[in-house]
């Protein structure tokens, strides 16, 4: 753990902290909790490793690719998001009531948590800073088309925008539209082009001119592995 006092210049949604030495404060808290026997350092490391390297948007990309290639799976996913994703092994924290909403040529879905940061961790990993930021939380429900435009996605006037406000109880996953030009692609190839942002509803998926190499599938760009 470094001792850098580097808080306050990180561009997060809250410059100007209630204390300037947050790094030192967290170190003090951790050392106290370890001494009291309330936390085990190895468990802390295991938790960090889980959410930094094991759980992430590649899980969601695999769900989406399966839904694109298996109509029966797609029906079950839209009918029972929790059970259907759990059957793939993506059950758990913050996905115990998962609702999957499908984008179509006439409907675009957008997910937000206006109250805090609710997000399907088991499917997408930890949410990005912008999802947890005051601008997104306040404006996604007020001006979703404007927010989408700022994030690079223009929604035509004749397309309905549906905004889903997550709660501690219910989380959402957007099933994006399968892009044209991907006929005959394998599930792995399809998974490799599914982005995290498309599963939150703030981006569309464009197919590259050439299918990705079958063995190089590593989808859900926009986040670390």
């Amino acid at each position: 753990m470094s001792h850098d006092h580097d808080h306050g210049d990180d561009g997060e949604d809250g410059a100007g902290a209630p204390w300037s030495d947050v790094q030192l404060r967290v170190q003090a808290l951790e050392s106290l909790l370890v001494e009291k026997g309330l936390v085990e350092p190895a468990a802390l490391d295991a938790l960090i490793d889980t959410y930094e390297t094991q759980v992430g948007p590649r899980n969601g990309a695999r769900v989406v690719a399966r839904a694109w290639t298996d109509p029966d799976f797609r029906r079950r996913l839209l009918d029972d998001g929790t059970g259907t994703t759990a059957a793939l092994g993506y059950a758990g924290r913050q996905a115990d009531h998962l609702i999957v909403v499908e984008n179509t040529p006439s409907v675009h879905n957008l997910v937000v948590c206006t109250l805090c940061s609710c997000y399907p961790w088991a499917i997408l990993g930890l949410p990005p800073v912008w999802y947890k930021s005051a601008p997104y939380r306040s404006r996604a429900v007020l001006d979703p088309r404007g927010v989408l435009r700022e994030l690079g996605t223009e929604i035509a006037d004749d397309v309905e925008v549906r905004v889903w406000d997550s709660t501690a109880e219910v989380r959402y996953l957007v099933l994006p539209e399968r892009p044209a030009g991907t006929d005959g692609w394998s599930e792995d190839q399809l998974a490799s082009i599914v982005t995290r942002d498309s599963m939150i509803g703030v981006g569309r998926i464009e197919a590259p001119a050439e299918p990705p190499a079958a063995d190089g599938a590593d989808g859900a760009g926009g986040a670390a592995p």
């Binding site: 949604d13 003090a28 115990d96 306040s138 670390a224």
Partner: protein, 160 residues
């Protein structure tokens, strides 16, 4: 509650800025706060709803001025104090000791009422914790939905 955390529909928060190639954590202390919050939650003295409620008690000016994991840290400290697991001023004393290079102040003993059945999360139990649901069920009362959220197209925002 009608607190500052209930941000849906507020004006004046500025544009949404997306950081290219954003890392999962921006600072080491953010990793530690996430892990400490989950590990302390596994002590089963409070549930996810209580964690959120505690963060929502943060005074509005501080809430707006704080980053995400700073709010988590604020909430965790208060939950620990409320449940007798952290003594008043204990963190500040430890921080002061760290800066003066003096021997660290010993950790205060746990309040007796806080200790029955208290077992720290072990690393071997982390996979099971990660796969478990994060909170107890609570009934959602439709009447408590905020007017701002419930009028939005397709929104099901609610918080009891």
């Amino acid at each position: 509650m009608n607190g500052v955390h209930d941000m849906g529909g507020m004006h004046g928060m500025g544009p949404v800025v997306r950081e290219p190639d954003e890392p999962i954590f921006h600072h080491e202390w953010e990793r530690r706060v996430l892990a400490l919050t989950l590990a302390c939650g596994a002590l089963r003295r409070w549930n996810l709803d209580m964690s959120r409620h505690t963060r929502e008690l943060m005074p509005a000016a501080g809430y707006l001025a704080s980053s995400y994991y700073e709010r988590w840290l604020w909430g965790l400290e208060r939950l620990l104090a409320t449940h007798g697991l952290l003594a008043p001023g204990e963190i500040e004393r430890r921080m002061a000791a760290g800066e003066s290079a003096a021997p660290a102040a010993p950790a205060a003993p746990l309040a007796p009422a806080a200790t029955p059945g208290l077992a720290p999360l072990r690393a071997a139990a982390v996979p099971a914790l990660v796969r478990a649901a994060g909170h107890a069920r609570v009934r959602v009362d439709a009447a408590s939905r905020t007017s701002r959220s419930s009028t939005m197209n397709g929104s099901v925002g609610s918080w009891p």
